[in-house]
Amino acid sequence: MSGAILQLQDVCERREVTDSADVVIVGTGAAGATAARVLTEAGLDVILVEEGEHVPTAELRSDMLASFRRLWRDMGFQVAEGRAFTPILQGRCVGGTTAINGAIIHRLPEVIHQLWCRDHGAGDFLPYAKLQRVYDQLDEELAVGAAPEAILGGNNRLMRAGIEACGWQGNLIRRNVRGCEGTSHCNQGCPNARRQSMNNSYVPRAVASGARVYATCRAEGLLRERGRAAGVVGRFRLPLGGPPGPRLRVHARRAVIVAASAIQTPLLLARAGVGGSSGLLGQRLQAHPGGAIMGLFDEPVRPWFGATQGYESTHFWPERMKFEAVSMPLELGAARLPGIGPALMRQLGAYGHVATWGVQVRARAHGSVRPGLFGGTSIRYDMTDEDVRTLKLGLRRVSEAMFAAGARELLPGIHGLPERITSLDGLAALESLPDDPRRFHCIAAHLFGTAVMGTDPRGSVVAPDGSVHGLPGLYVADSSPFPTNFGVNPQHTICAYAWLVAERLAGG
């Protein structure tokens, strides 16, 4: 059968869509698409089920609302509740979060890998040498390389100057892009298809090898036959509402792989009544919460040009923090400027001189995911006091680098500090602020741990090879099994893990 991407408008006349394949995969993000690439090229027949839309590059728009509407989960309004509301950023489209992220590529730090082996039995399935071999191949296929000088733009260049002036280690970010033009539109979907996100790489590659993608179709449950996972049932519907379309019923001859993210995967398993015996399904949600500091420079920054994220510092990674330049779209950046009314507009007039650098925290907090009201999702997540102290220290260091790079004033956006700070002395109050996440405006990305791996079914949801305890034929291949967060961007490790899960399946 030839491959294709079908969505609601292609099937709305039918009552039910049925299909079968060797392997059915839920999700087309980093994990699902990579698994599809491996399986199809091993000669297996594959179906992918994706809740979000397939949005061709020609239909992408510059304005953020349009991107939120078509590419982001819950229109970008998904939040975790705790002491503070924390936006949880995720894609919901063909390509998943890889279609809207900053294209940052990292490998799993070796010390974290050792921890996973020691405490969670990952070593037999995930030896480090094997991971490195897959990373190398991913690098080649996804065009991973350091951001070139020509598309750095002012924001990244200034951060490099600041980090170097402080004597810290920093580097151009390794990104999965092919000929990036520096439009700073990563969060809106790459307008030139330069980013090798899954919608531009492994999904079309799998389709070319015969995979069928059913998009705008939410997986609602799992089929079982003779004590094995045997398929997926779902329903076509536009992600933001509208009348429901036909049902989907797809049979899997060999296996079902759930790769729907650390938020959606545990919910699907729970709906299907599997993976819950340890009591850990949907628990242990970990993340990398982060905050940002804006700095006003005399020189033009023009944050709308350059790689959205092109420079970073992992100098303080052992202290659980990482710094990144981040060029937000004006629609999001403007809201971070201080003031309201005329004061806001004066600041907006100077937006071309504003740089934004973020602090990403390898947080110790554990949260949870469960079904919420109105058919939604309830996410609980609260940074610990220690996480907040790490954030405060990180923000202070980033501020130091901003002044070292020549910032005239900082716009910290922290409750309890002045709206503008003109010297490091002005940050003295930061340390004495209570360790309360409500004083900061954090977002959380990079989600892990809600279907944790382990060799003992009493203390884990899946085995290290992704197989779900208690239901043969069912696998989880996204970041849900990862036992801990790891302080760097996880896309490459999610791809590598999915690759290995799929490779074993293909071999078996």
């Binding site: 609302l65 229109m75 307008p191 004006l330 809201a335 309201i340 937006y351 919420g372």
Partner: protein, 151 residues
Amino acid sequence: MPGSWLRGLAFERRWLVALFELLIPAEADPRFRLGAKDAPMHRYVDELLRLAPLKFVLGLRASVWLLQLSPLVLLLRPTLLLALRPSEQYGVLDRLRGSEVYLLRELPLLLKTIGCLGFCGLPEVQAQLGIQPRDATPPAWAAAHGEQGRS
């Protein structure tokens, strides 16, 4: 739309637009003359409330009510925020922004964030800052009927 009242009543939508105009005023800076009143923000509000998750919409509606009723508590005056003089309005909003109560100080920020999400996506707004959008056509909500202003 069935149940559309859950997604905002007509007067609540007018309040929301007026709050955007208060938070994002025109002619406030010589480098940046445009404001929310120069954009068809009523259509933005319609689009947002139609499409956003219901939980968010209900939260936004509650925020609008709390902002409108805040003079009752902060000024001990039985009037709505939007009925005050502009200087008093900004005074009330500044007090809310400085509040030690998290939910109160987030109210103006939420409205500012949502207002900027629409307003700053307009090509003419970006052009005023020197940004050349990749596609210069306005967002779908602003392009409807080819109308660019509200009045």
